[in-house]
């Protein structure tokens, strides 16, 4: 898994169906509430659906299905697998 990981990005840049892993250094930027809902460093994030104008985002992280706004998604850094 780790060998495939190529580059840093944020949740806001994911395409529908694409997978990323929340990076450790995001910790301070993740709102406590999201953290509590399972949005933890190291967790797998999948983008399920985008509303028009790419906002909000419908993601599945750590088994939780959540809708978050783009501004929040743009703060959470992820490691993307090389596609």
């Amino acid at each position: 898994m780790l060998s495939k990981i190529k580059y840093l990005s944020t949740i806001a840049t994911l395409h529908i169906g694409e997978i990323g892993y929340i990076s450790e250094e995001s910790l301070d930027f993740i709102p406590l509430k999201l953290l509590e809902m399972g949005c933890l460093p190291g967790a797998e994030v999948v983008l399920i659906q985008l509303a028009p104008l790419k906002d909000p985002l419908y993601i599945c992280v750590n088994g939780s299905h959540l809708a978050i706004r783009k501004e929040t998604a743009a703060k959470i850094r992820i490691l993307k697998a090389n596609s």
Partner: protein, 703 residues
């Protein structure tokens, strides 16, 4: 409630089936009250645990964590931090959903660390097999050091075991923390914190510091020491983050040993449904279609029971009139109370049908998809995806709609939603629109199939929504309200709605309307009745004046009575009020009689029709719209010699009712929800000003 009853607090994440479990445990014994000092409803019910033991179950609002982000959630913290006092729970029943067990256990771990006896119920276990989940129950019990029960609340499985576990847990009455979390983050820091007081667990002290919530039992010295910890905010925040991660690490360790998911067995129905329901085009098409069905049903299904209620109350009033002795009390009963109660009951069918639909949409999980679809659009107007629900509910009644804003975490977005919801066309405006449209809009078809009257009504609905949106935009740009905007919505799994849950929900919301708005409408009806049936000397002499002049006119008995009633009304307190505002409303095209109706309809808008009926001395037992309509149609404006209710006046009145708040019950509920006089007053005067200006322009341009 007896002293021996066990006090149980039911806690869980949203969408775990908490309502189902609460309904199974308490059945029809539940009632809704209020938490002291806050507006959140408190749902309580009695449950028979065994032949000798009862429990009082409190259903706390769904939350993902003890750390609150909305008013609803703050109740959970407040309830749990109150220890060893009368209202504090003896046992906590935590409900978790088997599919999201990991996330659900976070809340469980926080509660366990409060050292209150806790039972964990894992719900929806009937779906475990289908989802490929297996649990090592005995090991899980040991690892979590608590009673764990597998249940299916909808199928009523495992409820008996939950009850038994509550009794066992209460008897044992010992509780130990799960994680003991804080020491490992910074031992020195947390040891100092722990030394502040031996009366609280470390986690309780930590919560007091992070949430700035101090129970009354904390001494002044203790509080000062605790407040000192609050000074380093960044450290607090960092440690809260660390605490959450540590909890998840501990939970993961436990679940690794006890919880296995075979992903190959999982079906992806949810994914398929989401592709359609949240689609950027089809999603909106489906939502519009659902709205269309809802509004269609409200009109079609509600009209039969509404006509029935209308007729029943008219008969009841007649019956009381003809069977009770004449007098003030009989008048109060027939004209004040019965018509007041009838004015409340008449709205129940529409409100119940609308809430039936909303309850079904929420139960199925569809409403979260609507929130997702609408968030960006609503945000442009300073609102939130969650504002859609109040705005739709507002088409029935603003009271429950405004209460539905409580889930919106951002204060500014919630406030704007509260302030603009009364613009949506509620059911009380309908009777007013209906009679005015019938008066001034010809009943003909345009383009061969579109009914002109229906089209006007539809445009009034559109006007309501449009003004709500525009007002929201203006407020968004002008309001300077400090508020953290944070938005996260869980998208729950789709499921079939439970009839029981939907039924309880509809009953509860309808009750909120009847007892919230109803009380005020009834009280105002009585006040207005008093003002209309009392007056000064001119009022008392009305009968004599008419009778003295009656001889030289050829009038029958009925016409004489009508003349007396008219003169009485003109000289009653309310008539005097109507006359005194006449100069103000004349530019809108209204006379003092319409002025009276404007004043009385402050109780509820539909009172407008009834008042005009009284003013134009339609006999009280003949409350048929066509008669009122005929009377209104034949009313002449003495200044012009033409019809009073001509096109400009009718349009001006409809515009007035579209914009003016004209509802004391809404005023009261906004006062309650915003906890100030400021916002309801701004809303009342703002909307009145808008209504005045808009009606003025309408009348002046059209005439």
């Amino acid at each position: 409630m007896s002293k021996n009853d066990i006090k149980v607090a039911l806690i869980g994440n949203p969408n775990t089936g908490k309502t189902s479990l609460f309904n199974q445990l308490t059945g029809l014994s539940q009632k809704v009250g209020n938490y002291p000092g806050v507006t959140v409803d408190k749902k309580e019910g009695t449950s028979k645990l065994s032949a000798t033991q009862n429990a009082i179950i409190t259903d706390l609002p769904g939350t993902y964590s003890i750390n609150p982000t909305s008013i609803d959630e703050s109740i959970v913290l407040k309830t749990l931090l109150k220890k060893n006092i009368k209202e504090s729970p003896d046992v906590i029943l935590v409900l978790a959903d088997v599919e999201n067990l990991k996330r659900n256990l976070l809340l469980f771990s926080q509660i366990k660390d409060l050292e209150i006896p806790t039972v964990l119920a894992i719900n929806m276990v009937d779906q475990m097999h289908r989802k490929g989940i297996s649990i090592d129950l005995s090991l899980l019990k040991k690892e979590l050091n608590t009673e764990v029960i597998l249940i299916s609340a909808r199928k009523n499985e495992g409820i008996k075991e939950v009850k038994e576990a509550i009794i066992r847990c209460h008897v044992a009455a010992k509780a130990s923390p799960l994680c003991g979390v804080n020491h490992k983050i910074d031992p020195d820091y947390f040891n100092t914190l722990k030394e502040i007081s031996p009366n609280y667990s470390l986690y309780e002290l930590w919560l007091m510091v992070t949430q700035n919530n101090f129970p009354g039992t904390v001494t002044k010295v203790e509080k000062e020491k605790l407040l000192a910890f609050k000074q380093d905010v960044s450290k607090l925040k960092k440690y809260q983050h660390k605490e959450t991660i540590y909890r998840y690490q501990e939970i993961n360790k436990i679940l690794k040993k006890t919880y296995i998911v075979d992903k190959t067995k999982a079906t992806d129905l949810r994914g398929k449904l989401d592709k359609i329901f949240t689609h950027r085009i089809f999603g909106y098409v489906i939502f519009s279609f659902i709205l269309l069905i809802i509004f269609q049903s409200i009109f079609d299904l509600a009209s039969v029971p509404m006509d029935f209620i209308d007729a029943t109350f008219a008969q009841l009033s007649d019956f009381a009139k003809s069977n009770l002795p004449n007098g003030v009390l009989t008048d109060l009963l027939t004209e004040g109370i019965i018509s007041g109660v009838g004015g409340v009951i008449i709205f129940i069918p529409q409100i119940a049908i609308l809430f039936l639909f909303i309850a079904i949409l929420e139960e199925t999980g569809y409403m979260s998809r609507v929130v997702f679809l609408m968030d960006k659009i609503m945000r442009r107007f300073g609102m939130n995806g969650k504002s859609v629900i109040p705005l739709i509910s507002g088409t029935a009644c603003a009271i429950p709609a405004i209460m539905a804003t409580r889930t919106i975490a951002s204060w500014k977005e919630r406030l704007i939603t509260i302030l603009v919801t009364p613009f949506t066309t509620c059911s009380a405006r309908l009777p007013v629109y209906a009679i005015l449209i019938a008066l001034i809009i010809p009943d003909k078809k345009i383009l061969g199939f579109l009914n002109l009257q229906g089209l006007v009504l539809l445009s009034l609905y559109a006007l309501g929504f449009a003004s709500a949106i525009i007002a929201a935009y203006i407020l968004h740009k002008t309001l300077k309200v400090e508020s953290k905007s944070f938005f996260v919505v869980e998208m729950p799994n789709y499921k079939l709605p439970s009839i029981k849950n939907v039924f309880f929900d509809v009953v509860e919301k309808t009750k909120a309307f009847v007892f919230g708005a109803g009380k005020i409408i009834l009280a105002l009806s009585i006040v207005l009745w008093f003002l209309a049936s009392n007056g000064g000397a001119a009022y008392e002499n009305a009968e004599t004046v008419i009778l003295e002049n009656v001889d030289n006119q050829n009038l029958n008995e009925r016409e004489v009575q009508q003349k007396i009633a008219s003169l009485k009304l003109e000289n009653s307190f309310i008539g005097i009020l109507g006359k005194s505002i006449e100069p103000v409303i004349r530019p809108l095209g209204y006379d003092w009689k319409i002025g009276i109706a404007l004043i009385t309809s402050f109780a509820a808008r539909e009172v407008f029709v009834g008042t005009l009926a009284t003013i134009y001395s339609v006999e009280a037992d003949d409350e048929d719209t066509s008669t009122i309509k005929q009377k209104m149609a034949s009313e002449i404006n003495p200044d012009t010699g033409k019809k009073r209710f001509n096109f400009p006046v009718g349009m001006s009145l409809m515009v007035f009712y579209a914009f003016a708040m004209q509802c004391m019950a809404t005023f009261a509920i906004v006062k309650r929800e915003t906890k100030t006089w400021k916002w309801p007053l701004i809303q009342l005067f703002g909307m009145a000003l808008l209504a005045y200006v808009a009606s003025f322009l309408t009348y002046q341009i059209l005439s």
